[in-house]
Amino acid sequence: MSETAATGTTGTGTSGTEEDTVEPVLPMVKAEQVHKSFGHTEVLKGIDLEVAAQEVFCLVGPSGSGKSTFLRCINHLEKINAGRLYVDGRLVGYRQKGDRLYELREREVAEQRKDIGMVFQRFNLFPHMTALQNVMEAPVQVKGESKAVARERAERLLERVGLADRMRNYPAQLSGGQQQRVAIARALAMEPKLMLFDEPTSALDPELVGEVLDVMRGLAEDGMTMIVVTHEMGFAREVGDSIVFMDDGVVVESGNPRDVLTNPQHERTQAFLSKVL
């Protein structure tokens, strides 16, 4: 495991120094030769990577490079065609017995997703529910929590993302930045061990980006494991523990964000960064 972990753990090395963990820890996410095709178009052409617990892992690259698709494979919103994908040591979407794979039932897939929070580019808040109801929905409906408990946590989470005075508002009454912060609170309400961010600031006005990134920064400081597909290189450099540059369905370059972003080794990375930065 330690040899294959080389790509992903460069970042963990830096963040892990405080705890000084020497024993091999199970990676939170592990991808082995992940392939994904839509029809005849191969979108992911063999992705290998590892994300350690408590790591902030940034996925960058041009549109169509497959980074969002890869993110969606992690919680089985997309089925992979080949390879293996593990979250917290468990195979995503399948069960392996011997060398046979069994597809998981819908209920079992849902069970796996409970621990993985996801934040979408277009927020996808439930428009017929208030901010508070959006955050309470999953704990009550999925975990069977009492409304009182769920409400208390939802209020705490909305306070944390700075929306204490907006709880009774419907999504249509909130700005984009506020909606995205509600979406983050909604994902956190399930107390996930992993958070997936799919271009969380791409649909926002430039001046609203900051408030969402602030919330994400706070999450990172609290030790949440985060995989962030983003075009915010500043965020990646400042908060990211490791970064992967993807292009055309493959990982082109990976490592510490400060190294990769300031001194990219690969020609393709250089070309991309020269346009973005």
């Binding site: 919680n75 919103l77 819908e106 209920r107 849902a110 069970e111 997703r113 409970k114 993985i116 929070g117 996801m118 979408f120 277009r122 996808n124 808040l125 439930f126 428009p127 017929h128 529910m129 929905e137 999953a138 409906q141 999925v142 419907y170 999504p171 249509a172 009454q173 909604r186 994902a187 399930m190």
Partner: protein, 346 residues
């Protein structure tokens, strides 16, 4: 500046140029003074708002002529009815003497029950149709194909005469009875109208479900919600906004289609109208009376639909549209507090 020289010449050009320069200088001067006396200038202009436009509106002669023609046509038709072979006294009498009160109740009852069957079964059929399960999808498709493809009147008669196929309703030890005792006109009408409606409602619900953004389903799945829960909690409530207007349309249709149940002797409005009409020799009169009743029922229903649509537009608009009552109240209070007219309707 305004004097336009007829004969353009050098000296005049030069004059103009110098005049322009002079004006520029003047403008500069006035600007300077303007910045100096900015405050006083502004208050001065604030005292003189531009005069409100008083223009003569466009005259719509065509509308007046059109309205006059329509009124004339209506009057002619009305006159024809008044002078026709209709005993208006009987119409007035039957409208008010309560003959049609209970038949109207029967019409209302059968149409509401049949509609309930239609909505529930239709939604179920729509979900089945969209299911990834090929058996469910095919069953739903076949159901819609059959019930939408045959006339309601035929379906009514098929149900009513079902004893030709099944003489007994036999549910083993639980229940056993003769089909003719079970299949009363009410039951036959309920089944025929309800099951027929379900086929139409299935298509309406399907359109509603498909109108909900796929991102909603993904978000719910990402939170760990199961497919059925996602449908019930997330997709259907949002689909309602699309489903309700055509459903209202369907219900109004149902109110009127229920009159076909006269064919199997179910005592609703039309059946009674026909019976009374033939025994009293007042056929046309009774048709007019039930028309009024049907119009009354559909009008009442329109009001109900407005509130139902309003309820399900929660979250789709920033603020709910005002109810008619709120609108009236808003207009009344508008004289006192003009700022409270809009926005405070939630």
């Amino acid at each position: 500046m305004n004097e336009a020289p007829d004969t353009p010449g050098e000296p005049q050009e030069a004059d103009r140029a110098s005049a322009a320069a002079g004006r520029d200088a003047q403008v500069g001067e006035t600007r300077l003074t303007k910045t100096d006396t900015l405050r006083t200038e502004e208050t001065a202009t604030a005292d003189l708002p531009p005069a409100a436009i008083k223009a003569i509106p466009v005259r719509h002669w065509g509308r007046w002529i059109g309205a006059a023609l329509v009124l004339a046509a209506l009057a002619a038709i009305g006159l024809a009815f008044v002078n026709g072979d209709i005993a208006w006294a009987v119409v007035g009498e039957r409208l008010t003497d309560g003959t049609f009160f209970w038949p109207a109740w029967e019409t209302l009852k059968i149409s509401v029950y049949a509609m309930l069957i239609g909505v529930v079964l239709g939604t179920l059929l729509a979900v089945m149709r969209l299911s990834s399960n090929p058996v469910l999808s095919a069953v739903s498709y076949a159901y819609i194909w059959f019930f939408r493809g045959t006339p309601v009147i035929v379906q009514l008669l098929l149900w009513f005469n079902l004893s030709a196929v099944f003489t007994y309703v036999d549910l083993g030890p639980i229940y056993r009875n003769e089909m003719n005792d079970v299949m009363t006109p009410f039951v036959a009408a309920l089944l025929a109208l309800g099951l027929n409606e379900a086929a139409y409602m299935a298509e309406i619900s399907r359109a509603g479900i498909q109108s909900v953004d796929h991102g909603q389903t993904e978000a719910a799945h990402a939170l760990g919600m199961s497919g059925s829960k996602t449908m019930r909690r997330i997709v259907l409530p949002q689909a309602m906004r699309v489903i309700i207007p055509p459903t209202g349309n369907e219900y109004i249709n149902m109110l009127k289609t229920s009159s076909l149940a006269f064919a199997i002797g179910y005592g609703e409005l039309f059946y009674v109208a026909k019976n009374v009409g033939t025994t009293d020799y007042s056929v046309m009169e009774m048709y007019l009376v039930v028309s009024v009743w049907y119009l009354g029922l559909t009008t009442i229903f329109n009001v109900g639909q407005y509130y139902l649509e309003r309820h399900y537009s929660k979250g789709a608009n920033r603020s709910l549209p005002p109810t008619p009552l709120q609108r009236i109240r808003g207009q009344l209070t508008a004289f006192r507090t003009p700022s409270k007219v809009g926005g405070t309707t939630v």
